[in-house]
């Protein structure tokens, strides 16, 4: 990919199409909220899982195609992506479990 002076416009338009379609699907699901996906699921609803996965798909296309990560040297890309992914996963793991604990502990004390 991407020698200097070479144009990548075709790839750019394809990625725009992908991002647009994914966003449209997300919004459509967000408006319709089919009961089968919204009210059932593992951990959280299936709908939320779909949203999260589609978001990561979009993030992948933005980072790889628009930010040219796919054209960088493999270990430069890994230095960026692995670092961020590892730290963010760790943070979310700790913080969300704590949030769940706070709910279990404090929710029974809330007077409605």
């Amino acid at each position: 990919m991407g020698h200097a002076h070479e144009s990548n416009t075709k790839r750019i338009w394809i990625v725009l199409a992908i991002l647009t379609i994914v966003t449209t699907v997300e919004v459509a699901l967000g408006i319709v909220k089919p009961d089968s996906l919204h009210l059932h699921g593992w951990g959280t609803s299936w709908l939320n899982w779909i949203f999260i996965i589609l978001t990561i798909v979009k993030a992948y296309y933005i980072a790889w195609a628009f930010m040219h990560l796919e054209a960088e040297k493999t270990w430069f890309r890994r230095a960026i992506v692995w670092t961020a992914v590892f730290l963010i996963s760790y943070l979310l793991f700790i913080v969300l479990i704590e949030g769940d604990y706070l709910h279990e502990t404090l929710a029974p004390l809330v007077k409605w």
């Binding site: 416009t9 966003t23 628009f66 960026i80 961020a84 943070l91 929710a107």
Partner: protein, 327 residues
């Protein structure tokens, strides 16, 4: 893999690493990437804090598509998500024009770079303007609600749909309460805007209309909808009402938990601040392109670097969009 990198070989760039290019990336580009990683961690910290708070109040968190329901020109129409979807699309398109500018830069097409940069700036401004409009709607609110003595928000429902205070309160205010400004009271003092209706008015109007019900902040885990009380339960809640809440600020909001609005203001505000900085940097680079700075330098790497920042802003929005509006 000399991809996308063009650097002079006349040793004029010694300040930027002296031609040493670990991973084949120039000094500036690598530092931009490291900044982006650290900024990504900042945003992750905010979104994780949002997640923690949301998990903590998972049984009563506001439902996003009942909060963000406006679309320009469609007054009173329930249009959840459409506007923010449009904003998302605008930002994605601005990313595309940015990447097209970078692409044109690789081919040393000055005019094309300038036009694509210009388009990126315009789309960026449209996005920030949209965000301001979204904030305006959020701050002004659309229905109005009341707060109880134990700091919960109660909303009003008629025939299964939320109704605005103005829809069922038709009497005049009887407590003669007026907004204290510098002109009509103590000259050295003033108060924030007061609510349009008094608590007594709300109670009176609620009792007068038997079809009105109260909706609590609590979610029914079966249906994932807010719990609507029966008429008897609703009437029993009336004595608890202490305040009328219209719209949103950092202390209270008509949508529910105050911290929901706090996170909304803080995270979308921080993102909006990034967009504004991005626009300013884009404008500077745009003028450099027009003045031919990069044409003389022999490469358009600055466009590429500012492009990385701009795409990052788009990348963050993708996550903000998911976690504030969809999930």
């Amino acid at each position: 893999m000399g991809a996308n990198i063009a650097v002079n070989s006349d040793n004029k760039e010694t300040w930027g690493g002296g031609g040493a290019k670990p991973f084949g990336a120039s000094y500036g580009k690598m530092m931009m990437w490291f900044f982006i990683v650290s900024d990504a961690l900042t945003f992750s910290g905010f979104l994780a804090a949002y997640g923690l708070t949301r998990f903590k109040f998972i049984d009563s968190w506001p439902i996003a598509d009942e909060v963000f329901t406006h679309f320009p020109g469609l007054h009173g129409v329930h249009a959840p998500m459409y506007y923010v979807a449009l904003m998302t699309f605008i930002l994605i398109v601005s990313s595309v024009t940015m990447v097209l500018a970078v692409d044109a830069g690789h081919q040393m097409k000055q005019k094309k770079v300038a036009w694509y940069m210009f388009a990126t700036i315009i789309f960026g401004i449209i996005f920030v303007g949209s965000q301001a409009w979204e904030w305006k709607n959020f701050i002004n609110g659309s229905y109005g609600a009341v707060k109880t003595s134990n700091n919960h928000i109660l909303q009003f429902v008629k025939d299964g749909h939320q109704v605005a205070l103005a829809d069922f309160i038709h009497t005049d205010r009887k407590d003669d309460r007026i907004h204290h400004t510098r002109n009509n009271g103590l000259w050295f003092d003033q108060e924030p805007a007061i609510s349009q209706y008094s608590v007594a008015q709300v109670k009176e109007a609620f009792k007068a209309d038997p079809s009105l019900l109260i909706r609590t902040e609590q979610l029914n885990p079966e249906t994932k909808q807010k719990i609507i009380l029966s008429r008897e339960e609703s009437l029993a809640k009336l004595p608890l009402i202490t305040k009328v809440v219209e719209g949103a600020n950092l202390k209270e909001n008509e949508y529910g938990n105050p911290i929901f609005a706090d996170f909304f203001f803080f995270i979308t505000g921080f993102h909006g601040f990034h967009v504004i900085s991005g626009i300013l940097i884009n404008i500077i680079i745009f003028f450099n392109v027009v003045l031919g700075t990069y044409e003389r330098r022999g490469h358009y790497e600055m466009v590429e670097k500012v492009g990385l920042y701009w795409h990052f802003v788009d990348l963050v929005w993708v996550f903000v969009f998911t976690f504030f509006y969809l999930v």
